[in-house]
Subunit: 148 residues, 2 copies
DNA sequence: CAGATCTCAGCTATACTGAAATGC
DNA sequence: CGCATTTCAGTATAGCTGAGATCT
């Protein structure tokens, strides 16, 4: 049986199916280097914004605050980040990217780039940009609607 | 903190985020009418293909064979489908859509159409078609690669 | 015999919730 | 006081696996 047309033309269904493939691809590649999805998001945020609190990392990466705790614990155990109390606000931790963590991020970037190529293998560069633009609008719209 | 650009431009991340929003929207609306995501997929497949075995339904809807069992049990309890042994192949059940089930599907279609509008609120009709076309290529490519 | 189907029991990862401890 | 942050324990669901019983 082929996929019913009622599903085949429904964006919600297509997005869910595409997400399953994307997740499988990312988990395979990131997992093969002994890392986790969330770790890439956190390292990327630290590289772009510098030292950050865990709450800020959670908001910036859409990783739940409680999952940030676990992911940072692993990253710290491997020396990719350091955590220290924030002198300016003792509720917070200052999370710092180490040089080793920066190298780790660069390796992950290659892996994640390969994921994009694998996921969008049939698509031209121009089509990939259009897809990114369309999906960005979806995500921005609902991210804004969800926090407001 | 805003989303790091390393994530914002990664299709895998965008698709995952969009999928979270899509799933939340569908679950809210379908759940509000006392139904489940899977039930819509199964009823849609039955309406398009007529009587089917559970294995065919599983392949056509991408609902796992074991989850088909549970979803059909609920649909049958509410009178939306009937199941009977296939005389031509006693391993199989013949799953039949009842008139009540057909009405139920029509209600769900309205609900699911509203989901698409909510998910793609910022997009024009033309943009929605482009998104569907791009995502269809992703899904078809990986569906083919995954079964082969 | 190999292979398909239906069913159940259970597993894992993801996203999320609640609450406690602490500090602003 | 209300509110934010970190942490831990636990929940819900989706998707999936393994195995048994049955049949082709």
């Amino acid at each position: 049986m082929r996929t019913p047309s009622m599903l085949n033309t429904a964006p919600t269904w297509l997005i869910n199916q595409a997400s399953l493939h994307a997740t499988r691809i990312v988990n395979d590649r990131i997992g093969a280097m002994g890392a986790h999805r969330y770790q890439y998001r956190l390292l990327a945020a630290l590289a772009e914004y510098g030292d950050s609190s865990q709450a800020d990392l959670s908001r910036g990466t859409m990783v739940d605050r409680s999952d940030v705790v676990a992911a940072l614990k692993d990253l710290e155990a491997d020396g990719y980040v350091r955590r220290s109390p924030d002198p300016a606000d003792n509720r917070r931790n200052v999370v710092t990217l180490t040089p080793t963590g920066r190298r780790r991020l660069r390796e992950m970037e290659k892996s994640v780039a390969a994921c994009q190529d694998e996921l969008l293998a049939p698509h031209t560069e121009h089509e990939r940009e259009r897809l990114v633009a369309l999906l960005s609008r979806v995500v921005e719209h609902h991210a804004a609607a969800h926090e407001g």
